[in-house]
């Protein structure tokens, strides 16, 4: 007498039909793009990271492929917080039941708080603080997520302002990621999202004798970052109690199960949209369902977790 298999789950009080999250910067620029992704099996949307003013980003080439992944230096192009939230509102008008995470980027706690006020006035369900963009380091310096003090200041101030739950998006390019995770939790973050892109990395055109990306370097994403993402999530999961959106290199149902087993509550699927096509969400959902079936589970909550680090012998 087995129940029907369901991929639905709850995240910070909101229901979603699938644990798959569209991460910031992938297809989340327009309300119709968000819709297209949801119609293809994604559960939750994250918007492109929005800044106070609009940004055109870096000139092209802004993406480059290599064995195992993608490099990108989009440079936080976005229409600015006002137009960006208008896209979210238009999407929520169409699909009110789909949770939307508004991602925002700034360099000071005050600007993050300012952005949060706008987001709280929108139909967004959650607020994500991008503390970790590696593609604007020339402009803004090291990722904020490298400094415990800055993470604390920003999260604390935003939490004062925001009525909707706050997610801190962390960078893998630090030596103490799980400590930053603990710091963000202590400062009041309601959830974590990790990882942002790795590196950055560089590729060279040996005929033109130039870096391939216009900004010279770009963040690494795609299947090759999966082991780093799994380790990051697992180490953080071992030390915090808030939920984690595990993102990085997920491209198949078994990848997603690995991520859930490592401690993620939801699973981000970004670069796989390029490598696997828009169908990738449905394919991953199907793969998770097959895993559940094989192990006689009916919902993703039954997927076992790895023993936490300190629980190990």
């Amino acid at each position: 007498m087995k129940g029907k298999i369901s991929l639905s789950t709850e995240f910070l009080g909101k229901k979603t039909k699938s644990p798959l999250v569209l991460p910031a910067g992938i297809m989340g620029m327009t309300w119709s793009g968000m819709r297209y992704v949801i119609e293809n099996g994604c559960g939750i949307i994250t918007s492109k990271s929005l800044t106070l003013e609009s940004r055109s980003g870096h000139p092209g080439p802004v993406v480059a492929e290599f064995a195992g992944g993608l490099l990108n230096c989009m440079g936080l192009c976005n229409p600015g917080i006002i137009d960006g939230l208008a896209e979210i509102n238009d999407f929520k008008k169409l699909m009110p039941e789909i949770p939307v995470i508004a991602s925002v980027f700034a360099t000071t706690a005050e600007d993050f708080a300012e952005l949060s006020r706008y987001v709280n006035d929108s139909k967004s369900d959650f607020l994500e603080l991008n503390l970790s963009c590696p593609n604007v380091m020339d402009e803004f310096g090291l990722p904020l997520a490298g400094s415990k003090e800055q993470v604390t200041d920003i999260v604390k101030l935003v939490k004062k302002v925001s009525k909707i739950p706050v997610i801190a998006k962390l960078s893998p390019n630090v030596t103490n990621l799980s400590e930053i995770a603990v710091t963000a939790e202590a400062a009041g973050a309601d959830a974590l999202c990790m990882i942002n892109t790795l590196g950055p990395g560089m590729l060279v055109d040996i005929d033109l004798v130039k870096p391939v990306l216009s900004n010279r370097t770009g963040g690494v994403s795609g299947v090759c970052v999966k082991p780093i993402a799994l380790r990051a999530v697992y180490e953080s999961y071992s030390r915090v109690t808030i939920p984690i959106i595990g993102t990085g290199g997920i491209a198949s149902g078994s990848d997603a199960v690995e991520m859930l087993m490592s401690g993620a509550s939801l699973v981000g699927v970004g670069s796989a949209v390029y490598a696997g096509g828009i169908e990738v969400f449905n394919i991953i959902n199907q793969g998770i369902a097959e895993y559940l079936k094989k192990h006689n589970y009916t919902n993703i909550g039954q997927i076992p977790r790895l023993e936490k680090l300190h629980e190990q012998a």
């Binding site: 620029m29 802004v62 993406v63 492929e65 949209v273």
Partner: protein
């Protein structure tokens, strides 16, 4: 993403003072309607439609407009350029009695399409319009194909003044086409859609342009409201049944920052 290739410009043909075709000796295996992303790795990277494509070479026909294209016009044969692609959807090659309607620098991809249609044995009529003589290209190439070919400019350089839509209107009312392929400026294509709405059973496909950054379907800059399909993956060629649903078509597009810009 197909691999990036960096090769020398094989030759450059000056079509008009502001339009040139750049040829590369490379077997791109693109389909009509597809595009490449072209760069010199120093001045940005931009999408261009394939205007010719044989097994040993392909060409892109480029209008000098702003910074990127002006820079490109400084290049000579032998200079290295880098491209990735071909990307995107292609014309379906459906139809037996076919009308091609092009406008300005957007006409050349119809030339590659036209050659493929003729190879298939279809009967093809081509209308090529532009604002001025300087924007009207590929006339000789089309004429050499030995098909019904009409050219027109707003300025009336060839006798009559008008647009390709004016000629298409007449051709449609006097002929029994079973397929229409269109590539031109958005407002020209908008007029074509209105025209085509009087021919409910008639299939058509349009080649669109939207601001492209990644060209591989992830940045989301080139989606079309309200469907959300990406012009770099599901487009740039869209079929009539999709075009019918587009609410942003002829109204607005999104710029490099993703901000809506309305057509005037």
């Amino acid at each position: 993403m197909s691999r990036r290739n960096t090769i020398a410009i094989a030759r450059i043909v000056e079509e008009t003072p502001t339009i040139r075709t750049f040829y590369f000796d490379y077997d791109l295996q693109a389909k009509p309607g597809q595009f490449i992303m072209l760069t010199d790795l120093a001045n940005g990277e931009k999408p261009f439609s394939i205007s010719e494509c044989e097994s040993d070479q392909f060409g892109v026909t480029i209008k000098k407009l702003g910074k990127f294209t002006s820079n490109l016009f400084e290049k000579q044969a032998g200079d290295l350029l880098s491209f990735r692609g071909a990307y995107g959807s292609s014309f379906s090659l459906k139809g037996n009695n076919i009308l091609l309607t092009g406008g300005g620098y957007a006409t050349p991809p119809l030339y590659y399409l036209c050659k493929e249609l003729l190879r298939k044995g279809a009967q093809v009529t081509v209308v090529n319009g532009a604002r001025t003589r300087d924007d009207l290209v590929f006339c000789e190439r089309f004429e050499n194909l030995g098909l019904e070919y009409k050219k027109i400019t707003d300025a009336g350089c060839f006798g009559r003044a008008g647009t390709s839509v004016d000629i298409a209107r007449e051709l449609l009312s006097n002929n029994d086409y079973d397929m229409v392929y269109v590539s031109g400026p958005e407002l020209m294509m908008k007029a074509m859609r209105e025209l085509l709405q009087s021919y409910p059973g008639l299939n058509y496909e349009f080649l669109f342009e939207r601001y492209m950054k990644c060209a591989i379907g992830i940045c989301g800059n080139c989606t079309m409201d309200p469907l959300g399909i990406r012009l770099c993956v599901e487009g740039p060629v869209l079929a009539g049944h999709q075009v019918e649903k587009l609410t942003e078509f002829g109204e607005y597009h999104r710029n490099a920052a993703g901000k809506k810009e309305y057509f005037k």
